[in-house]
């Protein structure tokens, strides 16, 4: 099962919903890995009452470690446009181009990991669509995109707490404090006062 219920936390921590079809002139759907399941569920929900949803949909999909598992099923939904790419950065020029051509009436659906949802939401906000106006659904890995507050380097797919910054090598504590602008959680040095005294890393939410 790719769904995970995040425990309640501080206000800064993003919360996610469940995708539902909404009226729109065009539909932009972006997902990574198991996020594909959320799009398949969305299409099934729409199927009964809005067969036009997929005819106006543009899907950007990043399979990541799921490989080919969902690609054919997504293609079978017959979206108007279907893009499969290796990474968010690879898909970014396409996303920006889509947004630069888009008009009001565009509905956006984001599904998958927090890193994908956060980075796409930041792009959308920069294009004029505020966070609250975009539907999101978390699926798959609970790994996080982390920013080291000391060196500002971003470490993707952090799954343990604490972890080692991929840029400066400090031992970082995983906080729920989140930046929507950076689409990253804060990582703060855990052994600053007592260098070397680092707790055993634990997998997030285990």
């Amino acid at each position: 099962m790719s769904k995970f219920q995040f425990p309640q936390s501080i206000a800064s921590r993003p919360v996610y919903g469940t995708l539902a079809p909404r009226p729109g002139k065009a539909h932009l759907m972006m997902a990574d890995a198991e996020g594909a399941e959320a799009l398949l569920d969305l299409a099934a929900q729409a199927g009964a009452r809005d067969s036009g949803l997929m005819a106006k949909a543009h899907i950007l999909y990043l399979p990541r470690q799921t490989g080919e598992a969902f690609v054919d099923r997504l293609r079978a939904l017959n979206p108007a446009q279907f893009y499969v790419g290796p990474s968010f950065d690879a898909a970014l020029p396409r996303l920006r181009r889509v947004l630069s051509d888009a008009h009001m009436g565009l509905q956006v659906y984001l599904a998958g990991t927090e890193g994908l949802i956060g980075r796409a939401a930041a792009e959308l906000a920069a294009a004029g669509i505020p966070v609250g106006s975009v539907q999101t659904e978390h699926r798959g890995s609970v790994a996080r995109r982390m920013q080291c507050v000391h060196c500002k380097g971003i470490t993707e797919d952090v799954i343990t707490d604490p972890f080692v910054c991929a840029h400066c090598g400090l031992n970082l504590f995983v906080r729920d404090h989140y930046s929507r602008r950076l689409a990253a959680f804060q990582g703060v040095c855990i052994d600053a006062e007592d260098p070397g005294n680092v707790p055993e890393p634990v997998e997030l939410y285990r």
């Binding site: 729109g24 009001m104 004029g128 106006s133």
Partner: protein, 328 residues
């Protein structure tokens, strides 16, 4: 803390003003301009703000909210435009009949419940009749900022097109006027489609128009956060009813032509308020006990709150029944 209105106070801070000009615009609408008696600058305001004008009408205090229509960059003058409502409760009639240049009045600090969302890439204003007033200030503010905007303005006929001529002359190409008597209507669906991403739409006018815009925008895939509206309700008359105010330890009678809020004020109870039109939420009051039916008319309480019978907005809502006890 700033000079912004504080929660415990009844209404926003007050400002004494002198009426510096009374300018009839057409058969129904007159502009009133205010300055401070000492010539000092007014507090700055953001476009979309309103002020509550206090009128002493033969022993009765009338408090009516009006949108500030003057340029927010002009701190010397505040201006409101008032449509005479012959069937109304008398506030607009009082202003039209009795207020002359040189008169002293008291108004409140501006309160903005209808601000421009400056994150917007473009702003589309939809006005119906006297609903044009907040947009006059918004247009002035956005012109100063160099932001993109357009106005679609629906009026009954040319004679009642308040400021339509000035707006069209000053901003040709951005202002579109639609005349009811020529069977013209705002082409809302076409307007909503094709707007650039990040456009916000603002509507001020009759309730039917506001509902129409919200509904149509949702159907066209616009997020709620991009659709802004303001409608001040005037309290409606109704059958007199008695209210027990338990904190103030008194029982008051709300007359046929006054609101519950006005009745409390008449009896010397300090009740909080800001907009007096069912929009801001400031006057929300807890119900201790009731035996009867509420007539909720506000835009503030959620439907389930209204149905629960535990809260009332005394500025516009009434009660019919045997007994009502409020925590005030």
């Amino acid at each position: 803390m700033s000079a912004a209105p504080q929660k415990a106070k009844a209404g926003a801070e007050k400002i004494d003003v002198v009426v510096s000009a009374v300018v009839p615009i057409n058969e129904l609408v007159t502009r009133f301009e205010f300055q401070r008696p000492d010539g000092a600058p007014f507090p700055p305001f953001s476009a979309g703000a309103h002020t509550v004008v206090e009128m002493k009408d033969k022993g009765r205090t009338r408090l009516n909210p009006y949108s500030l229509m003057s340029d927010p960059a002009d701190a010397g003058t505040y201006a409101i435009s008032v449509r005479r409502d012959d069937q109304g409760r008398g506030g607009s009639l009082y202003l039209h009949r009795h207020v002359k240049p040189g008169d002293r009045l008291t108004i409140t600090y501006p309160v903005n419940l209808f601000p421009v969302d400056l994150r917007g890439r473009k702003h589309v204003f939809l006005a119906g009749g006297i609903g044009i007033t907040p947009f006059l200030a918004m247009i002035a503010q956005l012109e100063t900022l160099g932001a993109r905007w357009e106005l679609h303005y629906s009026v009954r006929n040319e004679a009642l097109g308040t400021y339509a001529d000035q707006l069209t002359a000053r901003h040709p190409g951005k202002v579109h006027v639609y005349y009811d008597d020529r069977k013209q209507a705002i082409p809302l669906g076409d307007l909503l489609d094709g707007q650039p991403l990040g456009t916000h739409v603002y509507v001020c006018g009759p309730k039917g128009m506001i509902d129409w815009v919200h509904r149509t925008a949702a159907d066209h895939g616009w997020p709620d956060a991009h659709v802004h509206s303001e409608e001040f309700l005037a309290p409606q008359p109704g059958k007199p009813f008695e209210v027990r105010l338990c904190k103030s330890d008194m029982t008051i009678l709300v007359g046929e032509n006054e609101s519950l809020l006005e009745a409390m004020e008449r009896c010397g109870v300090e009740a909080p308020f800001l907009c007096r039109g069912g929009a801001c939420g400031q006057c929300e009051t807890d119900v201790v006990e009731h035996d009867g039916t509420f007539i909720h008319r506000d835009h503030w309480l959620e439907e389930d709150q209204q149905a629960s019978g535990t809260k009332i907005m005394p500025c516009v809502s009434r009660f019919v029944g045997k007994a009502l006890v409020l925590d005030r």
